[in-house]
């Protein structure tokens, strides 16, 4: 189980980094989202997965059964997923807005907040 998890984490990180290195803003966002799922898997992996017994306190007992799965990483992953989902939605809207405004997805050309380079030595005067 942990070998499979480890290999899949490695694979997902590779894919995420590859996408993230792209100059295309949409790929960058998707790459970060993919890396986010790798981070979530790391949280899950750190909690020593293996047991298939659910972490539930059965009626009448006062604690979970011995050998049950560790409930803490599940709670942590759930929180992390909610947060990364919110951030993914936000970043997709932001990316869509930017590409609609500027007509391209090239991150190297995102220089609207930077002054135009006119003089190689002195910083150009700003207009805003």
């Amino acid at each position: 189980m942990s070998v499979v998890l480890m290999l899949s984490i490695a694979l997902i990180v590779t894919a995420g980094v590859l996408l993230m290195l792209s100059r295309d803003s949409v790929r960058l966002i998707v790459g970060l989202a993919v890396l986010g799922s790798a981070a979530n898997l790391v949280v899950f992996y750190a909690g020593r997965p293996g047991s298939l017994l659910p972490a539930v306190i059965v009626a009448g007992a006062d604690r979970i059964a011995p050998g049950a799965a560790n409930p803490l990483p599940q709670a942590l992953v759930l929180t992390a997923i909610v947060i990364s989902f919110a951030l993914l939605c936000f970043s997709l809207v932001l990316g869509a807005y930017l590409s609609r405004q500027s007509g391209h997805e090239d991150v190297d050309r995102m220089r609207d907040a930077e002054p135009k380079a006119t003089d190689p030595v002195k910083p150009p005067e700003i207009d805003d």
């Binding site: 949280v43 750190a46 910083p123």
Partner: protein, 487 residues
Amino acid sequence: MLVLGPLLIPLATAVLCALLSGRRKLNMVVSLAGSVLLLGSATALLVNVIQHGRHSVALGDWPLPYAIEFAADGLSAAMILVTALLGMATTLYQASWNDGTAPQAALPSLMHGLLASAMATYLAADLFNLYVWLELMFITTLGTLVVGGQQRQAEAAFKYFAINMLGTLLLLAAVALIYGVSGHLNFAAIREAAQRPEVAAGLTVYTGLLVLAFLVKAGVFPLFFWLPASYHTLPAPLLALVGGLLTKVAAYVLLRLLGEVFITTPGSLLDALGWLAMVTMVVGVLGAAYHWDLRRILAFHIVSQIGYLLFGIALASPAAAAASTYFALHNILVKSNLFFIAGIMCASAGHYDLRRIGGLYLRQPLLALLFLVSALSLVGVPPSSGFWGKFMLIREAFGQRHYIWGGIALAVGLLTLYSMSKIWLEGFWKPHPKPDELSAARRVPLSAYAAVVMLSGAILVLGLFPEPFIHLMLSSTADFWNRGGAS
């Protein structure tokens, strides 16, 4: 309840402001009332911590290493008070600010959300809880960046998002792996577990990962490029809040984690941090020397000052930790105040570019005086607040025989003086290149001045009466890097 006050008040204010976002007047009143309450509860917390020592609250019906703990000691209470003061000043300044764009109804709730997450980050005594609040701070900052709705702001938000998201993911992975090795998330429990050699060996690598995540968030060389690429698109009140708070919170958390929790961190990592601090200081101050835009000059100075904070962390002693925290308190106040002043300078002279303005000394003598207080404090001229912070840091460096580090820190102070005198000469003394623009400028409302006067007063108090603050810092950091016994 006392501990959670500074967290719950801005959180409630943020929710209320969001619900009332349609009604502008009422929204402003709620926001102001929230800030006053926050300041009151922060003061009460500090007084209580000074009198009775550390306070802690464990939430979620579990015994302590498993419950979610919030704790306030001298360091966090002092940071909370300074942050509350900054929140108050921002609300005042924001209430009257008008830069020609339409007022944003969502702003007050974003501002209070940012304050709430900063407060919770100071208070968190649990690694995962810390992660969640840092995340909330990240989200609210993104909100403040995009709320203006201009394309340049959206681009700045995108750059900020891309790099900080990476930092966030590193942080999450590091938190998980540290949990995997030590079996705990609570600070005190991790510290205790780290005493066992087999845990300490595994922790080293993951602590490195954690430190890397915080270096991104704090804007340390070579990971700071998101900062000068995004901050300058914010309007003045938000720039002061975000620029004053964000990176300092990350540096403070790093200090607490390395000094109080991961005390077995090997010296080589701390040495590396020290050299990174040096490069950060120098690169930041040189970047500032190059620029003419007030906002960019000050943004690069944020980077440079983060170097000093990191320097105090790298020295790894209780005295250095106290110096670093004192420096953080001073820096939050001074940096935000300089951004507020830059906003007023732009409003009364017509521009942020120093080549296009001038003549403010004759026109606004009070502003010139207030600028001098903050600028000299940033440089570290005695007896300003910056002087005491730098003095303690450099004395500790020389005491530990880090002569090169101390020397670089001194030299960077000189270069800071260069930038500040540039602003002084160009903005205040030089005659305005187009005098009719200066006379046509709009009047700056009184409440913006009130915010600046309030922060300047706090800076003066911190500089002229440093002793109680230094004493509080020293008594709170006495146990930092103490490998001998449990806290």
